[in-house]
């Protein structure tokens, strides 16, 4: 096999993984740690793309747009949390599903009203255009390299925040036993708003970052959301490290499936069958991956601490 292609595909998978990670990281904070099933996390991805995209177009700079998007998304996140979700923490997951589904409908329609059905295209600044040579005959789009770098930095920062700081401890404490954390002096409502805001920023960042590649479209977050759920489940819920590993794994496997599955299938199947089985199988691949991992490790790759205690 062509090693240039192989490496390029690995990079592609890596880059997809990074986007998934940004989504999954927010989810794992909000769902894994605060135990809130937020289907509207996908909407935040979309809103990030539209709001960030608009800011980019207004300021005529992607960098400025991204910088301005951070406080904007944070504010939106906190607002959504305060208005709609705050009282839902103590409710069942199913109630949360229903309410946040309502949010999805609302946000999608609101976005359509504000930006129109055609979505939003965000140009890439000239200095991010083009490809870079990575040596050994590999050239790779510069912007995708930038995505990978940003994602790695965010991953590191987030890991430190959650695992190493008191903030992270308090969030985890509040999530596992709200009442008790409150009785020990933790201001849970404020803390959770903060976390939700951070989750919103991460989702928004993912949305904006991908927009110069895919453009912003209404409902763009929903399929990504499912993938992000797959990721956090594979990684082990509540684990930022798990989300990172699983996101990369998912990204790479998905990409590898899309690139090489047809070739592999040709080894076993007649061309006709391979041609029709290929796309089906490659779309199933990550689900097969997830089912397989859960079958052997029902708690994901990095089970959250405390989940394995004796009954």
């Amino acid at each position: 096999m062509d090693y240039v292609l192989l490496i390029e595909q690995l990079l592609n998978g890596f880059q997809l993984g990074i986007i998934l990670f940004l989504m999954a990281a927010g989810l794992t904070l909000v769902f894994g740690i605060m135990d809130l099933v937020n289907l509207a996390h996908g909407s935040l991805f979309m809103i990030g793309a539209f709001v960030g995209g608009t800011l980019t177009l207004v300021t005529d700079s992607l960098v400025l747009g991204a910088v301005l998007m951070v406080p904007a998304m944070f504010a939106i996140g906190v607002l959504v949390e305060t208005i709609a979700l705050r009282t839902l923490y103590r409710r069942s997951h199913l109630d949360q599903v229903l309410a946040t589904f309502g949010l999805i409908l609302f946000f999608n329609e609101a976005t359509r009203l504000i930006w129109g059905p055609e979505g939003l295209a965000v140009p890439l600044p000239d200095f991010l255009e083009g490809t870079v040579a990575l040596g050994a005959g590999i050239t790779y789009p510069l912007y995708r390299v930038v995505i990978i770098v940003i994602g790695l930095l965010v991953a590191l920062g987030l890991y430190l925040l959650v695992a190493r700081t008191r903030f992270g401890m308090l969030v985890r404490a509040g999530a596992s036993n709200r009442e008790m954390a409150g009785a020990l002096g933790v201001n849970i409502p404020v803390l959770f708003s903060l976390v939700f805001g951070i989750g919103a920023v991460l989702a928004g960042l993912a949305g904006l970052i991908i927009t110069p590649i895919t453009q912003a479209a209404i409902g763009m977050g929903e399929d990504v959301l499912i993938l992000a759920f797959v990721v956090i489940v594979i990684g082990g819920i509540g684990s930022v490290r798990g989300a990172f590993v699983a996101a990369l794994l998912t990204g790479i496997i998905d990409t590898m499936g899309r690139s090489f599955l047809d070739v592999v299938l040709l080894l076993f199947l007649p061309p006709n069958a391979a041609e029709s089985a290929g796309p089906a199988l490659s779309s199933m691949l990550i689900y097969i991956l997830m089912a397989g991992i859960l079958f052997f490790r029902p708690q994901g790759l990095f089970p959250p601490r405390g989940a394995t205690a004796a009954p």
């Binding site: 401890m169 020990l184 959250p304 601490r305 205690a309």
Partner: protein, 233 residues
């Protein structure tokens, strides 16, 4: 310091506390005694703002706290060792201790991580384990340590010796004794009347959500019929 006056509290429609009265002065060790299901824990939960009063007032050092949210009450200076331990299962033992730690508001040395470990060496050996991997007794010690580290004005211990080995239980009584000596105010709920009588300044017997008797250790010891009637001892 803490004053609970004519507090009524409900779970849904069923009233659990009826004109509950209670006071703890600084430096005092005060108990709540009573049989199962009489409302001791509910009193504590009401003080902490987890259960809301329907009427009556609760003040801490003269300021009303009954309408504050839980976390504000805790920050006002109450440290809770809850019934049933309530360790954070997903935090390590070390994190359980330091996550909610606060420096003493009065200044002075107060409780530090090191001092708590010294008090409970068994906890000290498991610092990296997840909270819920500890044995029942270890969790109990952890819960006490966690409350101490908030350096409260008033400690509330709700059945803090449940499930502890006799040796450890003795240690906790000793610890309470030294807390008392250090001038720490304590509100304690426990089944062990014998020990409490040797330790506390003032006792309250709770029956069906009311304080039906209040008195000193000597008075409590003296009145066998009282003990039999309300405590089944």
């Amino acid at each position: 310091m803490l004053e609970v006056r004519r507090v009524n509290a409900f779970y849904g429609d069923s009233q659990v506390l009826f004109d509950m009265n209670l006071a703890v002065s600084s430096g005092e060790v005060v108990t709540l005694l009573g049989r199962n299901g009489m409302g001791k824990t509910t009193t504590v939960r009401t003080i902490m703002g987890i259960v809301r009063t329907r009427s009556g007032t609760i003040t801490l050092n003269g300021t009303r706290i009954d309408h504050l949210p839980s976390h504000a009450i805790a920050r006002a200076g109450i440290g809770l060792v809850p019934e049933g331990r309530q360790i954070f299962p997903n935090l390590s033992v070390r994190e359980n201790l330091i996550a909610t730690a606060r420096t003493p508001s009065r200044g002075g040395p107060g409780w530090t991580f090191e001092r708590v470990i010294e008090l409970f060496p068994a906890v000290g050996t498991r610092l990296a384990s997840a909270g819920n991997q500890l044995s029942g007794g270890e969790q109990q010690m952890l819960a006490i340590g966690r409350a101490l580290l908030t350096n409260p004005l008033l400690m509330i211990l709700d059945e803090a010796t449940e499930g502890l080995a006799p040796l450890v239980r003795q240690e906790i009584w000793a610890c309470l004794g030294s807390l008392k000596k250090a001038g720490q105010a304590v509100l304690v709920i426990d089944k062990n009347v014998e020990m409490l009588a040797g330790l506390a300044d003032l006792h309250h017997i709770v029956e069906k959500g009311r304080v039906v008797w209040k008195g000193t250790s000597a008075e409590l010891r003296a009145d066998r019929s009282l003990q039999l009637r309300y405590l089944g001892v």
